[in-house]
Structure formats: C-alpha cells, structure tokens
C-alpha cells in the first residue's frame, strides 16, 4: 500500500491537498512543511509517495528532495505554473496534474504511478492523459515481490530446478527454498507453475 506524504510550505495548500485525498477516502500518512522534514517522515514509511504543489518554484525543492531519495512525486500545478511542466519532468516528477483537479483523476494518477507509469498533462488544458511512459530509475512499480524474489522467479520460469537456481545465484539450496516459500506465501500459491502465472498476472515477470 502506497503511503502518501503531503508536502507544501503553506498550511492552506496542504489542507487543499488533504481534502482532495479525503474525497477519495485516502488518508495521508504524514504532512511536512519543509523539505528538511522529509528525512524524518520517510524513516517511518515503507512505500512512500510525495504529493506536492501548487506553485512553481516552491514545489521544486520538495520535488528535488524526494526524487533524490528515489521517492515518486505527484505534482499538482496551477494554471500559471504549468509552464514549469518540462523542468518538473526533467527533475523526475512521476505525475503532473493541473490544479484544480478532480479527486478521481488524482486517484487514478496515483494508481498509475503505482504501476510504474508516468502521468503527464494532455494537450487539452485540464485533460491530463496517462502516458504510458517508462518506469524510470528510482520509480519502481508497486509490487508484492522484492527484486531478489523476482530474479529467483525468473529462473523458476526458465525451468531451472532449485539446485540449478542456487548455483546460478551463488546461494545455498536452503536459501532458494526459503525465498520460494516467501514467494508462494505472498502470491498465495502452492506450486511453481502457479507462482509464475500469478507473478505474470501481477505484471511482475518478464514474459
């Protein structure tokens, strides 16, 4: 589950962002009023996402702070600040929406970010399009499996037995079994074939 940090210097901007989330039944995990507070907020969160806005360049310092730590950022910018869209994207924003925006739109943008997609404003003002752009460095899709578990499952999908997987990864066969057990539990499956198929369904496996 993604945990959202609401970030802005002004209290009224934070309140506006909060009410947008509340309209979708989402509670922010924390709220910060300065980039310096980011480190403390991150320490408590597993899968953070920063929501910030609405004026440029105020939002830029939050954006930089978060992308520097590999945290995806959703940026809402008011009409006059939308020219900053390009620099914002270059600095790694995962989603850019115009302010004001519909809460449902924000919610689907957050969903898209979870899949490692990027959301850019469309050509028509106020009509953002989910562009199916790259999951970029630092933006990992929302996944059940860890990178190590995915690597292991790729080898299962390749038809390797536990011994061969252990040899390939340079670990003991018990480590392989331990990871497999964890993969089975996370995916709620009982066999290797089911695990491969469940991971494919979740978009976690190279096909």
């Amino acid at each position: 589950m993604v945990q959202i940090i609401v970030a802005a210097y002004q209290a009224e901007v934070r309140a506006a962002l909060q009410s947008l989330l509340e309209a979708e039944g989402v509670r922010a995990a924390s709220e910060i009023d300065a980039p310096a507070a980011l480190g403390r907020a991150l320490a408590e969160l597993m899968e953070p996402l920063l929501l910030t806005g609405i004026r440029w360049p105020e939002a830029a310092s939050f954006l930089e702070g978060a992308t520097g730590q590999g945290i995806p950022v959703a940026l809402l910018l008011e009409e006059g600040s939308l020219d900053a869209a390009h620099p914002a994207f270059r600095r790694g924003a995962a989603a850019l929406l115009p302010w004001p925006t519909a809460s449902a739109l924000l919610s689907s943008a957050l969903e898209a970010i979870g899949y490692g997609l990027r959301v850019v404003p469309g050509t028509v003002p106020g009509q953002p399009a989910v562009r199916h752009a790259a999951a970029r460095a630092g933006l990992t899709p929302r996944t059940l499996l860890s990178a190590r578990e995915r690597a292991l499952l790729e080898l299962v999908a390749a038809g390797l037995g536990n011994k061969a997987i252990a040899r390939r990864l340079g670990v003991s066969i018990n480590t392989v079994k331990y990871h497999l057990g964890s993969i089975f539990a996370k995916l709620d499956v009982r066999t290797r074939a089911e695990a491969v198929s469940a991971a494919a369904r979740g978009g976690e496996l190279m096909l």
């Binding site: 899949y115 752009a133 790259a134 999908a157 038809g159 536990n162 494919a200 496996l205 190279m206 096909l207």
Partner: protein
C-alpha cells in the same frame, strides 16, 4: 498336456520384449508418489512430471538397490520430467521406428519397487496436434487402450520391437495418455544441451489496462488490453520494435486481456517459433511477428 505352438510363440515374444527393456526401467519414489522412469540417453531418465513438482531429487530403485537422482527439469505443461542418475544403471531405450497407428499392439513396462510390471494393450487414437490442459502443444494426441499397473505412470509405451512410442500418464476420465516420443526427445535434448527444458521468451513486462465502455469501442477491444510496462534489452520484443507504452491488443489473432494469458501463449510455443502481435501505438494499429527467444 498340449500347448498350441502359436500361443507359446506369443508368450515367448512377450517375454522377449520385456527381457530386452527390463534393465532400462526403474521405479521412482517421492513422498507423494511411486511411479516408473526409463533411461532415454546416457544417465538421463524420463518420467511423469505431475507428482515431482518442487522436488530437488527423488529416490530411484532398481534390483532392490536405492539411489538418488537429481531432478533436472520438471515441465508440467508436457508432463515430462528429466532426472539424472548418479550412475547409468541401465541401457537407454530407443524411440520406435514407426509412428503409432490405431490398433497397434503395445506394452507398457513399468516397475513397482523391485518388480517389473507389464500391461499389454493397443493404440486407441492417434490424432493430430494437441494442446494439453496446461498449454503445451504436442505433435499428437495419443490415447491408449490399456490399464496401467500400480506405479506404471511415467513408464515407457513400447511397440512389439521394444521401441518407445510414448510415455504413459493418467489423464482425465481414466484415460491413459501417451506423451509422444518426439516431445520426450525434444525435452531430453534441451536438458542435455542447456541443463533444462527451453522456455519461449518475448522479453516484455505487461500490465493489464482496464478499459471503459468508450475506450472499448474506440479500440475495438474487450474489457482490458495489455500495456507494455518494460522491454528487456536485448530481447525478441526489443528486436521487433516493441516499446514501453505500446498496447498489445491480440496475440495470434485472439484478444489477450491478462498477462498470464500472454504467458500461456508464449509457453505453448518453443523458442524459435513466431508470435503474431496486434499492437496499438498512439492511433496506429499494426501487426508484428516476433520470433520467440529462449528464457535464460
């Protein structure tokens, strides 16, 4: 006391076949099953995969002596598992010289613990290409008119020359199915060459995109299409020009709405076989043929 020369001749021939193959057939024990296996090439044994899933090694029995065999490959799609015995305990069986024909006499030579079992019967049906329940395409659908002895799953199905026509496995509705010799040969030569059974590989990670009613009509698609979320480099998908953000609408002419269906399509083929994708990028729809690679 008289015996007809013909029946004694038949009896002698039956014994001769079994004597010839007996040394190549072993019993296999796992915590879940007892079944049979046979030497196909060198120290490589073939047996049925179903009950071996997840095992690392199994016990093999021959002439009352037990040893361990490593499970090298376990392909549930074709139900073929390949084992390596620590030492070659018997001669390899050879594939039959002819293809099976309906009515052809066969013998399934299995081994339950130390004892050889034999079930005589005939080929019931030898139909064209067949896609198994788990999505593998076999060259033939081979049904056998025979009752398997206990522990005879995974045993060789032999013609009266002692050549292997297939491997016997139990199917639904008490059918006995023969996994054809060419599929066994393909699996074993993969394992001999690469240490495993080659799996087809496209090189994309896809996520489903649920479509609203309007989008369904506009794309002329079902409930969902697949978005390419990542393309491996190098990979067949990359070579064919698939890019992040492309929509995959159909595979080999059929709509695909979930990533595991695409996986099934890929797994149903072998490396080197083509896959036809209908792709939408922006407003343009085109078809591209990707030659599947091998997952490594």
């Amino acid at each position: 006391m008289s015996q007809s020369p013909l029946s004694s001749q038949i009896d002698a021939e039956r014994s001769a076949i079994l004597n010839r193959v007996a040394g190549s057939v072993l019993a296999v024990e796992t915590p879940r099953a007892r079944q049979s296996a046979f030497f196909w090439r060198g120290g490589l044994l073939v047996t049925a995969a179903e009950a071996l899933e997840g095992a690392d090694s199994v016990r093999i029995l021959k002439d009352g002596s037990r040893s361990e065999a490593e499970l090298l490959a376990c392909d549930l799609r074709t139900d073929i598992a390949v084992l390596r015995a620590a030492e070659t305990l018997g001669p390899a069986l050879a594939p039959a010289a002819t293809t099976p024909r309906p009515g052809q006499l066969i013998v399934v030579a299995g081994r339950a613990r130390a004892d050889l079992s034999a079930s005589f019967g005939s080929v019931q049906l030898n139909a064209g290409p067949w896609t198994t329940r788990r999505g593998a395409t076999l060259s033939r659908r081979l049904l056998l008119d025979v009752r398997l002895a206990p522990g005879a799953e995974g045993a060789p199905v032999l013609d009266l020359e002692g050549g292997v026509l297939a491997m016997a496995v139990r199917g639904p509705l008490n059918q006995v199915i023969g996994i054809p010799a060419d599929a066994i040969e393909a699996a074993v030569s993969d394992v001999a060459a690469h240490g495993r059974i080659a799996q087809g590989y496209l090189g994309v990670r896809v996520v489903p995109l649920a479509l609203g009613l309007q989008a369904r009509q506009r794309l002329n698609a079902g409930r969902a299409v697949l978005i390419v979320a990542d393309v491996a480099q190098p990979s067949p998908a990359f070579d064919a020009g698939l890019e992040i953000g492309d929509l995959v609408l159909a595979v080999d002419g059929d709509p695909v709405q979930s990533p595991d269906r695409l996986l099934g399509r890929i797994q149903g083929k072998r490396p080197g076989e083509p896959l036809l994708l209908r792709r939408r990028r922006g407003a343009a729809i085109d078809e591209l043929t990707v030659t599947l690679g091998c997952r490594s």
